[in-house]
């Protein structure tokens, strides 16, 4: 292969960030740069199946302080598709019991000579804490219920590919909003790109106060089905809940599960997303999850594309690297 094949241009001048910590602070222009770059990478790699070695010689460390299979694999594969080396650091929070702080752990990894850290942690703000304390790029792969920016981006990219646009669409996020980092990243990203966002779920998990940000909050899924272009079915995060926010799974499924019957009352071309891993029969029934409206597997591929784009942009592989928090 000649280098021309890999000539994908420089990092756009409007992109100046070394870190990707959240979508709340990104502009619409920055969001579009990531989405456009991801689209370009997806095409250049035959749907993320081939290599595009533009980060050769770089090392990306995966620091996962919380269990994850999909996101971690996706980041590792994205880095390797771009020719970077990856190291995996699977730390349980038990390192704290050895008296080492989270920042100490990260600084140790940094001292081994890496270029970027992908961090997942159960506590909001940890990615930002690392960005303040390390000299390398920090990419947030999920900080507690705060944000999961690459998940938000891959959801948005999937919508854009399937429906051709974001502006003017009505997108409902269904389920456990309060414990969902995916919800927060989707809310900010979708709003900045001009979508109308509806939050739908039990009132103990969906605060009316989100309306202060221009989001619509509805508790009855059946009342919004007819006007939604996209449903993003969030997983109930049983592991983050100290108290039971609703009486039981059966009642939840009755009120919020996306079933064939509900699908029949939705728009003809409704798109069903789920950030996964899904609880089949709770958020969505199997026939809907595997049906033609579902884009669940597209999301997985787009996850690779988005993460390649984010790694390349933040590392400034072919552009000027400008420091910015």
């Amino acid at each position: 292969m000649s280098t021309e094949v890999w000539d994908i241009g420089a990092v756009p001048a409007a992109w100046t960030r070394r870190h990707l910590l959240d979508l709340e602070s990104l502009s619409a222009e920055e969001l579009n740069i990531i989405l456009d770059t991801a689209t370009q990478f997806k095409e250049a790699t035959a749907g993320c199946t081939q290599k595009l070695p533009i980060l050769t010689g770089r090392t990306v460390a995966n620091l996962f302080f919380e269990n994850s299979t999909r996101t971690r694999t996706s980041f590792a594969l994205s880095a390797r598709r771009l020719g970077a080396d990856t190291i995996d650091f699977a730390a349980s929070t038990s390192s704290l019991s050895k008296g080492e702080t989270f920042i100490d752990t990260a600084k140790n990894i940094e001292a081994m000579g890496i270029d970027a850290v992908v961090v997942r942690h159960r506590t909001p703000g940890t990615a930002q804490l690392l960005a303040q304390n390390l000299d390398v790029s920090v990419i947030n792969a999920g900080d507690g219920p705060h944000e999961h920016p690459t998940q938000g981006l891959l959801d948005i990219l999937t919508i854009r590919q399937r429906l051709g646009r974001i502006a003017g669409l009505t997108v409902a996020l269904v389920g456990d909003i309060s414990h969902s980092r995916t919800a927060r990243s989707n809310i900010w990203g979708l709003q900045k790109l001009g979508a109308h966002v509806i939050l739908c779920g039990p009132s103990t998990l969906v605060s009316k106060r989100w309306e202060e940000f221009g989001v619509e909050v509805v508790y009855d899924l059946d009342k919004i089905l007819h006007r939604c272009d996209v449903l993003n079915l969030l997983r109930i995060q049983f592991e983050r809940q100290s108290t039971r926010p609703f009486p039981g799974i059966r009642e939840y499924a009755l009120l919020y599960a996306m079933t064939r019957e509900r699908l029949e009352r939705a728009k003809d071309n409704i798109l069903i997303l789920a950030p996964g891993p899904i609880n089949r029969g709770v958020e969505v029934t199997a026939d809907v999850a595997d049906g033609s409206h579902s884009a669940i597997l597209d999301q997985v591929t787009n996850g690779l594309a988005v993460r390649m784009a984010v790694l390349w942009l933040t590392l400034g592989a072919q552009g000027e690297l400008t420091a910015q928090g």
């Binding site: 702080t101 804490l129 100290s242």
Partner: protein, 441 residues
Amino acid sequence: MASSSSLLIEGGRVIDPSQGIDRITNVLIENGRVAAFDAMATGDVRTVDAQGKIVAPGLIDMHVHLREPGREEDETILTGASAAIAGGFTSIACIPNTEPPIDTQATVEFIQHLASRADQCNVYVVACVSKNREGKELAEIGQLVQAGAVAFSDDGAPVYDAELMRRALEYCQMFDKPILNHAEVRELTQGGVMHEGLVSMVLGLPGMPASAEDVMTARDIALADATGGRVHMMHVSTSGSIDLIRRAKGRGVRVTTEVCPHHFTLSDECLRSFDSNFKMSPPLRGQSHVEACIAGLVDGTIDVICTDHAPHAREKKMRELDQAPFGIVGLETALGLVVTQLIEPGHLDWPQAIAKMTINPARILGIPKGTLAIGADADITIIDPNVAWTVDPAKSRSKSTNTPFGGWKLRGRADTVIVGGRIKYQADGADQPSRQPVRAR
């Protein structure tokens, strides 16, 4: 350092709310006591020039965590008392959530002994309400009073059992001691790291709702009302609890309260930085609560300004937000924040602010301090009301530097601090450098 003899403080604006004094005059100190006003310098008396400065009764901080015994990596009695002096405080009351907790005569006397050896400010001891702070059995309150305890609190933890709280309020009446309670319904704050509101919702951080404070404040007021006991609500932070206290005072319930500088200065917006120096309990609240704290100070609902000085070693605060402990240091920034946030904007005048840091806490604790009455101990804080300074945590005398105010530009600080007639601190360093604290053991 001159141990006693005479000292004349010349030309300062003397503000003593306990006597309604606010005028420019001289104060003569003899044998460690306030001897006279309007005195003139005689031949051999040492003088302190206080022109352009405020001469106040020594400031009192009734809510300080000294950490010793048990957590000397955070603070010791020596370093804490030394920080107090530098902050303008001549008397502090230390809170009993030490390890072991202050629930025996021996521990009270241990603290008094170390405080005396430290020889900085006066240290009063608040002892536990319940044995081992477990909230089950009353501590030996009578014996603790005999040892010198001035008030009772299980702070850090609320007195949870309402029956125990009721009994403590009844029992303390015969000693005329207040119960200081930390109001927090734990079922509502479990796992929380910040105020529950719009900001916690956006950040995905578990919240501590204002109602958790309000509910227990209402309970304690009801119990004080029913028993006739004295309850003092610690570090009040919500508009709801301030309003409850305001109304209770209006109908004669024996309830008093205090507020910390961070609660009338900062809001939960600060948590957007995810900096653990903004994590305290009660948490920084929304702006309407901050305004309620100021309104409570202005109308007198809030009697006292205290620090809730809560030192934590750096490595503890460097953890993730949910792992980092609650609390910030406050002794060395409190006065500057009072001047900058309350006096300069015109919320309080000087006599009002000084009352909340002198005679009001003295009355609640029942200690003979906070006054420049003739014959009183000569504990005096001379305040430079105009000096502008920048908070530098590296220069802190406290052993810990967990302050959110590093780099803040403040106005007003202690210029000269006198305890029992002896100059213990001078801002220009003219006091003898026995100031550099060394470990007492």
